[in-house]
Subunit: 304 residues, 2 copies
């Protein structure tokens, strides 16, 4: 049996893949450029294959090299987890936990969540990161993040998920406008172009449109906001109506406004909230406990 590749060399490869430059990668690993260079050559010899194509000035990862990087990432992160686990004496609720959250969820859960986790698991070091779904998924894959709190349905690529709960959408509008619309909501009574939404980078836009059966509706205004708080301000200025998730309302986003929230048409106008993680993780138990904490904060908890 040939010798296993060393974790050190694999980590050199990962750094090189990330930096795409020997010097920077070497600095990243706190070794000299020559060390990293020969480490990579060493690895190629051991694996008996070409990982990068060199052209005397620059280089390129081969297809096989890219795949080796993928697998190496899993191995390195599993090793890091083992190290951390053992050093924590088997206490799974200890050490850093890097959680990524999309912007239409983050502001309405992180306050309560970090307080509750701090109380229950004081040694857990929660590191939050707010970004779009696509960026978060990329960073999860990279090993830069451990778990993601996303709105579903969504293509989560090769990852696994737990559905934590449901978050209903509410139609939010000025109370004067609400009177002319009445309940149940009849979108036809709204003026054309009077529904404002977030930029399409935010998955909530798609979810709200789908959930409320408004695809291609003339009612929608082409101007898009970058945050829920902007949307609320616009609605409060009588510019029109918008959709706001229940969790934002529960957190008081409508306080000090003249806005009211109505139940939209369609019996299931809601998004699912899910926790997403790599299938190769060895920290399911840790994640599960965090999942339970998050689920308790949601408008509708469906975690079984």
């Amino acid at each position: 049996m040939s010798k296993l590749p060393s974790l050190k060399n694999l980590s050199y490869l990962l750094a090189l893949h990330q930096e795409q430059n020997f010097n920077r990668a070497a600095a990243e690993c706190n070794v000299s450029q020559s060390t990293l260079s020969s480490g990579i050559q060493n690895l190629e010899e051991q694996l008996d294959c070409q990982l990068i194509e060199r052209d005397h000035k620059s280089f390129l990862f081969t297809a096989l090299g890219e795949e080796v990087v993928e697998k190496a990432r899993d191995i390195i992160s599993a090793s890091e987890e083992l190290l951390h686990y053992a050093q924590g004496q088997g206490n799974i609720m200890e050490g850093p936990l890097r959680l990524g959250i999309i912007p239409t969820i983050a502001p309405f859960v992180i306050g309560e969540l970090s307080k509750n986790l701090q109380d229950k698991f004081p040694k857990l070091l929660l590191q939050l990161s707010e970004d779009t779904t696509q960026n978060l998924l990329h960073r999860l894959r990279n090993g830069e993040l451990d778990i993601l709190l996303l709105a579903l349905p969504m293509d989560i690529q090769g990852n696994q998920k737990w559905i934590l709960g449901r978050d209903p959408f509410k139609l939010v509008l000025h109370k004067d406008l609400a009177e002319t619309v009445g309940e149940p909501v009849d979108y036809d009574k709204l003026p054309d172009r009077s529904i404002f939404l977030l930029e399409k980078e935010h998955c909530m836009t798609g979810h709200a449109v789908a959930a409320c059966q408004l695809t291609d509706s003339i009612k929608m205004n082409p101007f898009t906001a970058t945050s829920l708080h902007s949307l609320v301000q616009m609605a409060d200025a009588r510019l029109g109506a918008t959709f706001v998730p229940q969790m934002a309302i529960d957190q008081g986003i409508l306080e000090n406004t003249a806005l009211v929230s109505l139940k939209p048409t369609g019996q299931e106008a809601s998004r699912d909230i899910g926790l997403v993680y790599r299938p190769t993780t060895s920290r399911r138990q840790t994640f599960r406990k965090v999942a339970e904490e998050i689920a308790r904060l949601l408008p509708v908890n469906t975690l079984n």
Copy 2:
């Protein structure tokens, strides 16, 4: 950041766990006893925890040590897979594939399967192992086997599975006896204690009894056989009736006998055939192709 544990030391730990003896473990790893001993100590220092309790003569793995072994196994096998993958230039259908099969499936698929795999993937080295479900699951966990072909439903512990297809049970009896029973089968017309089954180590016994709704029936004979071929011989000797899976009949197990097969009572008298693998594997693609080959050999193919 503290240094990652070396794969070498982790493999020493695994060997020690398997052999429960420093000398044998060292021999297993092709190193001296002192090397292995200090490797373990080294690992304990790096992980900053006690993995084994020593009492100057013998030793015992601590609870934490056992858990570290579990995680280390995943890391080592992922590394082996990476090595193998890269050395095979990314060809996933190459090198050894260790497949475990239960005795009530093995004889009826391995002939065709190994022939087909040999034809399609000549570089794939299929290594078969026949054992009971429980032993196979243990060996899968150990990293001793890569995938298992089992009959389901079954507790497959933390593993993952694909359902490949269905295998109906048939009631098999001597043609003279069959005349007195008639169709549809009425078990009441069979003499008491005239149904013979396999030893209870074989999961097929439970599956057949459940599928045909015969729990605690007075019709069953307490004598149990160790193989399907024995059962068939007994039925042919007019000792009674028995259940035989369709795949065995398709393979001609009833040839040169005076036996007939009848459809048992109960609309779903069948077992599922599933392929089971570790959730941490990185060879899903390889396994999937094997799964497809196996599914094609089953009486009812349900692999989607």
